[in-house]
């Protein structure tokens, strides 16, 4: 369904929305990553270099549990910034 929404957007909007979406995700993950200690950072590097999707999921849930809140905050922050720049 998500892909269906993107596919049905005019190309100009689709690429902009995808770009925004990517940035929000990366920034949120970056914030969550910074909160991890060195041991967990090393663990994350090892797991996300592997092919084990289950371990990746487990890591996201166990050590980046507050990611959802971070994503919401990042979305709010970035859209407000855009608004300020546009108006």
């Amino acid at each position: 369904m998500q892909q269906r929404i993107l596919n049905n957007l005019p190309p100009e909007i689709e690429s902009t929305v995808s770009q925004l979406h990517d940035t929000i995700l990366k920034r949120s993950l970056m914030r969550a990553y910074k909160n991890l200690d060195n041991e967990k950072k090393a663990m994350m590097a090892k797991i996300f270099n592997s092919n084990d999707d289950e371990q990746k999921n487990d890591f996201l849930h166990n050590y980046l549990g507050d990611l959802q809140d971070i994503i919401i905050k990042e979305t709010k922050k970035i859209t407000e910034e855009i608004k300020q720049r546009t108006h």
Binding site: M1, Q2, Q3, R4, I5, L6, N8, L9, P10, P11, E12, I13, T16, V17, Q19, L20, H21, D22, T23, I24, L25, K26, L29, M30, Y33, K41, M44, A45, F48, N49, N51, D53, K56, N57, L60, H61, L64, L67, Q68, I71, I72, T75, K76, I78, T79, E80, E81, I82, K83, R85, T86
Partner: protein, 532 residues
Amino acid sequence: MSFEQTPNTSNEQSKEKPPYPGWVLKNGIWRNPLEEENIKSIDENKKDSDTENPKIDDELRLTEKELKKLNNKEYLNPGDIEKKKDLEIKYNSLNKETKKESEIYQGPEKKKGEMDPLELHYKWGEVCDALKGNKDEIKVINDCLDKTPEELNVYLENNPEFSDEAKEWIKTNIEVEKEKIADFKKWEDKSVAGKEGAKKENKKETEKEGLEKEVTKRYYDELEKIEQMPDYTKKLKKRKTKKCFQLINDWKDLAYLDDYKGIQEIFSELDEPKPFTFIYNLKKAEMIDEVAIAMALNYKKWDIKDKKKLKTIKSFVNKGSEEKNFWYKSDDRDGTFKDIAQILALKDIPFKSSINVLVEDIKNPNIKSEAIAEIFEIEKETIEEKKKLLKEIKEKITEEKTPSEEETKKQFEKIGASPEIMGIFEKPELLSELFNKGSKILKNPEVQKNIQELQDSIKKATKEEEIIPDPVAKAAEFMKGGGKEKKKESLWKTSFGVMGWSILLFLVFFMLAELKGVDYLSGQTTGKKKEK
């Protein structure tokens, strides 16, 4: 002219149980090997003594010979079958006569209570009956069977009703008979266990059928309740729709039990309240897709003819695309047919005259060729690979769920969506139109100017301020579904799916609000009402 030929099963191992332990099937007739030996010995005695009844005996031999001849035939015609029946009856009757003759021959008059070896031997045959209950009748035999050789000696010596010959016979044959009985008991236990196992299986099957009927009945009861729900306000309409979606979701995996009639009734019920929200249309499209895929996944469990199954699938999917739902148009329908074809191929359903019937309905030539190529690839996969692919499809269905309107609104509120963005939910037709005619709208110079400004702002706002470490970049890729399988469509998988969905939708609405796209469509920007 040809005769009806029946395979001759007389030489195959019989599945019937022997009438007595140790009896064997010879030429299609159950026989006691010892009895045969006895008859042979009687026969030999007869030859010596000149007291035999040669007429019966010769006839018996002749009948047996004819029976053997018939039994050696590979195929029997109706005449052979009839003849075989007659011969068997004749053989049994002659056999009885021979027994009587041989009993008569046994000579000296028996004393009261005395058992001769032949009589005793016949009695052994009744042991199996005795084991089932009637022990008094052959108590003597049971007494013999229960004893050790030493005990048996004492027992026989203390029972004057046995002749010396009978005593000798018992001593010689008791162990053999014990073995036969043990074998029979094993066979009987196995047979009983088998029967009980089959009974249990049948019971399980009946219980399962009962449960399935009960479940289907409950779903129908629930549907009846939904049908009676009032829908004269927007809120009530939404409540009713939510219940319909819930019931479709709960029922879809067992709906093959009533040939998807109930679930199609819910879809008709859904058309009544139609709350006209953005999420409603998306959710309905998702539901059409999911039910169609459930039809494919449960294809083999669905107990009707293939032709009827394919007809039901086709009619359901086509009906879904005929409605004016922006999110379920011709290409979406083609996509559903492609997915179904893929699932059926993974389930080894033949392409010719089955999958092909669905592929033929795909109108978009690109989707059609993709579907055929996929099926071609699937046919080359191993069983394990097919299973893996099916599992992935099932997982994808569970992952990709459009959240409810309430959930989405809650997320929007958390993000701090403006009343303008929140209001977009209430204008699904305008939104659909925007998606439909987006490119045309963007050609408007005023909108083009807006989009340019917005894109510049976004570019500045999304400019990376710091270097993204490798684990973060990889985690982002994984969450977007671009891990080891680049083909995955889901934008944000795992349980962040709902969150990703809401964010995506929010961003689309945000863009629209910033571009004044909805205002443009409703004519508010130009001061004119949009022409229909």
